[in-house]
């Protein structure tokens, strides 16, 4: 046999075998390693490689829009640019934040704080560092993208507020804080919130949060190693996407044009105004002053701004329409009058003599008119707001009988408006006094009660509801603001019907009429205290009220006291008085132009005037709208009168459909 190994003895032949074994062994080891990576851990690495290349981009859902009763936008959306960072793609956190802080002239801590808040969420989820970038800031970021891995500018929708609408009612959006996030996500498993998402924090934004927020979509994009989106034109790299679902649109009962009129009429005053439809409880306009700039939350409120607002003695954060409790003052006299008539303490003709004061034991209660009103009956007592008359009937009635009627008319308890911490107000009774103050009722406490002072507390909303009940002979409707909620496709999800809470039948209609006559006289009589609320061609019924804030000596010159000690001016009214369709309650806090007649009544007058002007205008437009394209001279044009009745319904439906299309 031929010897295979021919080289001389210097080399060791057996080493070839050893070498083969080493080679095979070494390559086998490598092969096993490949097996380990590709087969044993293949699924894991495939997943990691997918995570490497695929980035999930969330498409935020546009928040639902609020419309007024006539399809006008009250609260809409406008695009804004946010600075977001995706931790997964961030190379060096400290460096990135330093660069950002330098570029945008912001303290680095703000970014650190936002980043820290989002620690618990997965690293691929973007964190919003700053909202509402200016064009200049956007261009700075974009031109430095190379040094800022993981940083992007994203366009999102921002709320666009109508400054005439009370921000208390609309509420504001704030970033969801971690504890709320946990709470919300426990309820919304299918549609969770992320850190940095905006949620409604007050008003309708908070109450309708679940309707307004919509459902965000996402799309997957492929990125390269530098975080740049790569082309996905190749079919096999097509990635799924799910579109965002816009939030539901809400149609309110609010009338934006009337609201603007209210804001105008009430400008410069503090307090609250409510305009309601007494036939349904639909709130047509409301305002609470002072308020805040709704954009301040979007800009990011500074500590100074927040301090200034929260320490303001006029409480700008308080929604005074539902949360402000005021002694009703003379507006309460209508309740006392009704109670006295129903309890037959007085009748329409019985009169008392007012000499300017009323004595009870050793106490003396003054009338607001020092000289006295002389002989007053029910009508003149209401018209001139004679305190002495009501002291008399109040004493005759006693506190509990007044309270019975006050409660029957809806005072002293919540109406279920369900917006911004509605307060119940207070109707004092002897039992209440005993329970709370551990003292029996003293007769000397009744006269202030009967002119709406003392322990009495009502909210502006209750005041409006009370006068609505007076106008409609005892119907108490649940006040409401949301008429219809329709999803982004225009389908109506929810339609709210007016809800009659009760009809106060403890009082006979004749007595309502008697009191209404008195209230008409307040506005329409030459001597009436509320004659500044008069509206041409309409009979307005109303009652003024001036409430002492501190127990000043009666008739002390109001201009001498500090602003916060000045009287609240009030006016509550309904019109037209025979068949009321609008009720207005105005409370002007610490008004320096005078009492209810001088400062609140003109506001109510302007609002009522605006209401009837608008009504006239709309009737005219509805008339004209039925012949939009017909030349006026065409004799064959159909008479518009026929379609007039159908018009409002059509108008309500059309905008809903359009809205759906606009947000798809």
């Amino acid at each position: 046999m031929k010897k295979m190994f021919r080289a001389p003895h210097l080399m060791i032949e057996s080493r070839f075998f050893v070498a083969s074994v080493i080679v095979v062994g070494a390559i086998l080891a490598l092969w096993l390693r490949v097996w380990h990576l590709q087969i044993y851990r293949g699924d894991y690495y495939r997943r990691v490689s997918e995570n490497n290349r695929i980035r999930k981009i969330e498409i935020p859902a546009p928040r639902g829009v609020l419309f007024d009763a006539y399809g006008k936008t009250i609260l809409g959306n406008t695009p804004s640019s946010d600075l977001v960072i995706t931790p997964q793609y961030m190379k060096d956190k400290d460096k990135t934040f330093d660069v950002l802080a330098q570029l945008l002239h912001r303290p680095r801590q703000t970014y650190d704080r936002k980043y820290k808040q989002a620690r618990s969420q997965p690293r691929f989820m973007p964190i919003t560092l700053q909202r509402n970038l200016t064009q200049h800031e956007i261009s700075i970021i974009e031109s430095n993208r190379l040094f800022l891995p993981g940083v992007e500018v994203r366009t999102t929708a921002r709320r666009e507020y109508d400054l005439d609408v009370s921000p208390h009612m609309l509420g504001y959006l704030g970033e969801v804080n971690p504890s709320l996030l946990k709470q919300l996500n426990a309820k919304n498993r299918g549609n969770p919130y992320n850190i940095g998402d905006l949620v409604g924090k007050q008003g309708l934004e908070a109450r309708l949060e679940s309707y307004l927020r919509g459902k965000r979509g996402y799309k997957l994009i492929q990125v390269d190693a530098f975080g740049r989106a790569s082309d996905t034109q190749r079919d096999d790299w097509q990635l799924p996407a799910v579109g965002a679902q816009a939030g539901a649109n809400v149609e309110l009962t609010l009338d934006l044009e009337l609201q603007k009129a209210v804001t105008r009429a009430f400008s410069g005053k503090n307090g609250a105004v409510i305009v309601m439809d007494p036939r349904s409880g639909a709130v047509l306009a409301l305002t609470s002053q002072p308020a805040w700039d709704p954009y301040i939350y979007q800009k990011g409120m500074t500590h100074e701004e927040f301090r200034a607002l929260s320490l303001d003695p006029l409480h700008p954060f308080l929604d005074k329409t539902t949360g402000g409790e005021y002694p009703p003052g003379s507006t309460y006299k209508a309740v006392v009058a009704l109670a006295a008539l129903q309890e037959k303490v007085v009748n329409a003709g019985s009169s008392y003599f007012c000499n300017g004061s009323f004595s009870l034991g050793n106490q003396t209660f003054g009338c607001h008119k020092k000289e006295g009103h002389g002989y007053v009956n029910l009508r003149t007592a209401l018209m001139q707001s004679c305190d002495v008359y009501f002291y008399h009937i109040g004493i005759d009635l006693g506190v509990d009988r007044i309270a019975k009627y006050a409660k029957a008319l809806g005072l002293g308890s919540k109406l279920g408006f369900n917006l911004n911490m509605e307060r119940p107000g207070l109707v004092p009774t002897s039992a209440w006094k005993l329970a709370v103050h551990k003292e029996p009722w003293a007769t000397g406490e009744t006269p202030p009660i009967s002119i709406g002072q003392g322990y009495n507390l009502t909210t502006p909303l209750q005041m409006a509801s009370l006068y609505a009940a007076l106008g409609t002979k005892g119907q108490i409707w649940k006040p409401f603001l949301v008429r219809r909620i329709s999803n982004s496709f225009g389908q109506v999800i929810e339609e709210r019907q007016p809800q009659l809470l009760r009809t106060t039948d403890a009082i006979s209609p004749e007595n309502y009429t008697l009191v209404r006559r008195g209230l008409e006289a307040v506005v329409n009589d030459e001597e009436g205290t509320g004659k500044k609320a008069k509206v041409e061609g309409i009979t307005v019924a109303g009652k003024t009220g001036s409430v002492q804030v501190v127990n000043l000596k009666k008739n002390k010159n109001q201009s001498d006291v500090s602003v916060l000690w000045k009287e609240h001016a009030m006016f509550a009214s309904f019109a037209p008085s025979e068949n009321p369709e609008v009720v207005v309650a105005v409370i002007s806090e610490h008004d320096d132009t005078g009492g209810g007649g001088a400062s609140a009544a003109p506001v109510a007058g302007k609002i009522l005037n605006a209401y009837f002007e608008l009504k006239k205008k709309r009737a005219f437009v509805a008339l004209g709208a039925s012949v939009p394209n017909q030349p006026a001279s065409d004799p064959a044009a159909p008479k518009p009168v026929k379609t007039k009745l159908n018009q409002p319904k059509k108008r309500a439906e059309r905008p809903v459909m359009n809205r759906g299309a606009a947000y798809e």
Binding site: M11, V24, L30, V34, Q38, I39, G42, D224
Partner: protein
């Protein structure tokens, strides 16, 4: 240089057995079994390598420039396999080594710098890395040394001192570039060749101990920080995910995500989206494994194992010590490069710049690998005495003018 004590005269073994020229009788040519396999495997590897490089290059000109390099490399392969008998390497081994050392010094003086190391030599439009040539030069010098200084007894450290000095020069010159990878490969090639030599056990022990001590010294005094980090990353690739560990991690992801069949040609997301660093050079195996999966990797391993086994077979039937040792050296160039590169990519070895034969982009490396296979083929042809035949058939030029 001190001469070894017992020198045996150089006696080339001339074998005249296989070819008998009898008129009228068929000439039975000895067949090149191993070389045919080598050529087949090499072409297979080159084809796979080029296809893979096309993917890794992602439409850049790298593929086309490598195609040019390949042309030169295949020419070099053919010239070495058919035109230059290995005995000429024997004759000019020291000269060649000296020339390479001269080039290495030239690199130090006028070389081009890339990636922080001075490795390139530019001659007109041609750029090449002399350190790649040094691999072949070292193998030749080792073979030549044992061919000329033969001992009946096992070699001792003293006997090997001249060789160690010569190789040490080349090693240090490459190490100074700095190109630790190539320097290490050179040393390992020499070590592989020495593995077939009978060496005094005591001397082996001393050398092993010295190497260990040198490694410790190197760790503390010679190695750059980035080199140390590469070693530490081996132990824990998660240590520095975005920095030095990034390469290794992305390589694992690329290889692992290939799974059994791979993502397909041009479909490797790690590669095409540039997550994988050094895609066309050091980490080319990851590209291949990602796109062709475990199956592709297995085929690749099989081809390399065949190639290495063929090389060993050729070495085993080498005509003389020089040829046998040179064949071992050529085989170990392929083996060591392949082992270090794949081990590095698979996270079993620190990241060093060692190319994967026939796959990694690089002109000089491609030429060098093809040349070493060409030399292997030449050695087999020499062992079958085919060079004399070709010379008689008037095929060659100067290479065959001087019969031994």
């Amino acid at each position: 240089m001190s001469e070894p004590r017992e020198i045996q005269a150089h006696q080339p073994v001339i074998i005249n057995e296989p070819v008998l020229l009898v008129p009228g009788q068929e000439i039975r040519e000895p067949t090149l079994i191993w070389s045919k396999v080598i050529i087949f495997v090499m072409l297979a590897l080159i084809t796979m390598g080029m296809i893979n490089l096309y993917s890794a290059a992602m439409g850049t000109s790298l593929f086309w420039s490598q195609l040019k390099n390949l042309f030169i490399a295949l020419t070099s392969f053919a010239v070495c396999a058919w035109l230059i008998p290995p005995r000429h390497y024997n004759t000019y081994a020291y000269w060649f080594f000296g020339f390479v050392c001269f080039l290495l010094i030239l690199v130090e003086v006028i070389g081009g710098i890339s990636m922080g190391a001075q490795r390139w030599l530019k001659v007109g439009p041609i750029m090449f890395q002399p350190s790649e040539l040094a691999k072949i030069a070292v193998a030749m010098v080792v073979a030549k040394f044992f061919h000329t200084s033969r001992l009946a007894r096992p070699y001792t450290l003293q006997d090997l001192a001249p060789l160690a000095t010569i190789i040490g020069v080349a090693f240090l010159l490459i190490f100074a570039q700095p190109d630790f990878g190539t320097a290490g490969v050179c040393a390992l090639i020499a070590a592989c060749q020495l593995g077939f030599i009978r060496i005094n056990a005591k001397s082996v022990g001393i050398v092993a101990a010295t190497v260990l001590v040198l490694l410790v010294i190197a760790w503390f005094f010679v190695l750059h920080d980035y080199q140390k980090l590469r070693v530490l990353n081996l132990i824990n690739p998660d240590m520095d995910r975005s920095g030095t560990g990034y390469n290794a991690l992305q390589s694992f992801i690329a290889i692992g995500s290939g799974k059994f069949l791979g993502k397909g040609f041009l479909e490797g997301t790690q590669t095409q989206l540039q997550f994988l660093p050094a895609r066309h050079t050091d980490f080319i195996f990851s590209v291949f494994a990602e796109e062709h999966g475990f199956l592709g990797a297995t085929i690749l391993f099989g081809l390399f194992i065949t190639l290495i086994y063929m090389g060993l077979a050729i070495a085993k039937q080498g005509k003389d010590i020089f040829s046998a040792l040179l064949a071992v050296g050529m085989t170990s160039i392929i083996f060591v490069s392949f082992m270090i590169n794949t081990a590095m990519v698979l996270g079993l070895f620190p990241v060093v710049g060692v190319p994967l034969p026939f796959f990694s982009y690089g002109g000089t490396a491609m030429i060098m690998f093809c040349t070493s296979l060409g030399i292997l083929v030449a050695i087999e042809r020499e062992s079958l005495d085919l060079f004399r035949k070709t010379s008689s058939m008037n095929m060659g030029g100067s290479a065959v003018k001087k019969p031994a």
